[in-house]
Symmetry: C2
Subunit: 392 residues, 2 copies
Amino acid sequence: MASLTVPAPPCLKRPLHVPHRHMFGPGPSNTPDRILQAGAKPVIGHMHPETFEIMNDIKSGIQYMFQTQNKVTFAVSGTGHTAMECAIFNAVEPGESVLSTVNGIWGERAADVFERIGATVNTIVAPPGGFFSLDEIEQALSKYRPALLFVTHGESSTGVLHPLDGLGPLCHKYDCLLLVDSVAAMGGAPLHMDKQGKIDILYTGSQKVLNVPPGSAPISFSERACQKIFNRKTKPVSFFLDLSWLANYWGCDDKPARVYHHTGPVTAFYSLREGLAMLAEEGLENSWKRHESVAEYFHAELESMGLKPFVKEKKARLPTVTTIVAPHGYDWKEITTYIMKTHNLEISGGLGPSVGLVLRVGLMGCNSTKANVDLVLTALKDALKHCHKSKV
Amino acid sequence: MASLTVPAPPCLKRPLHVPHRHMFGPGPSNTPDRILQAGAKPVIGHMHPETFEIMNDIKSGIQYMFQTQNKVTFAVSGTGHTAMECAIFNAVEPGESVLSTVNGIWGERAADVFERIGATVNTIVAPPGGFFSLDEIEQALSKYRPALLFVTHGESSTGVLHPLDGLGPLCHKYDCLLLVDSVAAMGGAPLHMDKQGKIDILYTGSQKVLNVPPGSAPISFSERACQKIFNRKTKPVSFFLDLSWLANYWGCDDKPARVYHHTGPVTAFYSLREGLAMLAEEGLENSWKRHESVAEYFHAELESMGLKPFVKEKKARLPTVTTIVAPHGYDWKEITTYIMKTHNLEISGGLGPSVGLVLRVGLMGCNSTKANVDLVLTALKDALKHCHKSKV
């Protein structure tokens, strides 16, 4: 047997060190110990009956969080991006026309994925902080006749909560599926998947309002979406994300038994179940109201200290991720670095089209409290006092 | 605001219950408490410097485990299937010719993924328990002139350890990349990514010899593979698995800064780092030897109780997953069910082409001990005594 050419790395001799930190950026958010402990329970098999029961509980929890009766409801084994690709890979075939509404980074990324699988992609673009009226969307639907419309409910890069009312019926009038990304808003802002029209495909992530470590992503497909997907002419590009396999693994189809597809991340399922249980304990409407009132308090206090919310229209402000106009004369990067160093607290700058324009503060799930708002305000005031201000 | 139509599910009121169990199937394997506790450390940001340091440690650990100096070495945010798709999506363009060696389920699955992305797929097939000689592979390379060859190092469905010596030079003679799946063998059987030829793309999973919960998958790309990938004419179908983005997120390229790509599953990284640290503590060669000697003891004891190893050639037997010829006259399903129920111990039946033909016992990482072999033997003897035997 040949001898080793690469020796054991000395860096692995150091014990793992992870600091405690206030996670008030756009995500991941802080994870309560109860959820971390759930994720530290022993590994059992991805096909064991106890795992199937945990997966069934997760399905019920997601149906509650999404307010849907959709049978095909489950968690993707991955982060929000994986869920986005799961939705797009399954719902769209090469050559089909799709429409992506772009008012921040997520519409751009969806457009990128559509292109990669050979769809004909059209976009409508709003400036950072903006969103689309039903009229604007109808014009585009009528012009491009897409098979699918992509909308970001919670645009975490710009702090916009996109209105969803009326979108479902509009899409259906044009024989178009409605795909909604609610990674950053779900659980923190009202959404009724079935009553709103209905939304055909909806997904979120674990690491935002649910306060679960990143690594699983709830998703749901309407019957209309399934009709299209299960009658595709071509196979989706991914076996791992193929809905016919995933729906079976999650017991969402009518087959008598679940078949091995991939090795589900069982400990991620444990913590996801715990996060959903905590949401059910508080009650979805209570969570919505708490996020709303904490955000209102936050926005009022920001204005009273002379800072401006980036999103002008009050009802279009995300209650989970607040964007603040980058304070004039300051280097935003110096502010976030100072706050991290001095207050052990993460807030962040912009992302994609909002880089340089905003500061972003996420208060999601258990982080959404007035006490945490006060922590952020204290840190911001301190930063504005100590960071370098140009004389311009 | 509309009222809720889906009430909170009562099932989530029950506390999460997960049993302790001997995980002696083909994976996931048992996870030591040390690794579970590492994964329960607090969530910090996927772009925080402490996370980058953990990711750097993981890279070094994987380079050690794979015995490679490849710069582009990292962990995919997903299970082994995600790593398979990461390799295939990046390394192959639509219309290219590929060759998959099929001697169990993994070659079949790779062929499926190749087809999905529009490659021209050729296969050579060996019966379950078999493998391919260099001559057979050379014939196929010369006939099909593929851009890439797929080989399964540890065929967990049939218990075969595929010989790798000579494959690299052979592939390179035919200007073909060598892609090796070592999900089930890595860390438990000798492999030298660089010295063996070298292997161009290699991946494994976390939940086998590493004893880490499923959800991360080490992978490495040779410079030759990167040359091809970074000069593609088309974008890979997946943004999430696009190597140019992933290599940057993992600090494997020459760019000055890492750019946000996706939200890395940070707690999965913590536990992966811990698993790699434990492997480095034991030493790779010691781990190889331990798996080999435990497997030899196991196979000898099986024969002494009248059971037959499924793989005839000794040197082609996987030291991590042992396949046993399904005992004549018994229903294999009754045996595995009895052992689970009576001994709280998982062993499994076949998968894909080996269904009905074998029992499979995985003793991987910390599970690979003579004491655990004795547990399995006791359980098997008990099952053969108590399960129903036909008189045929």
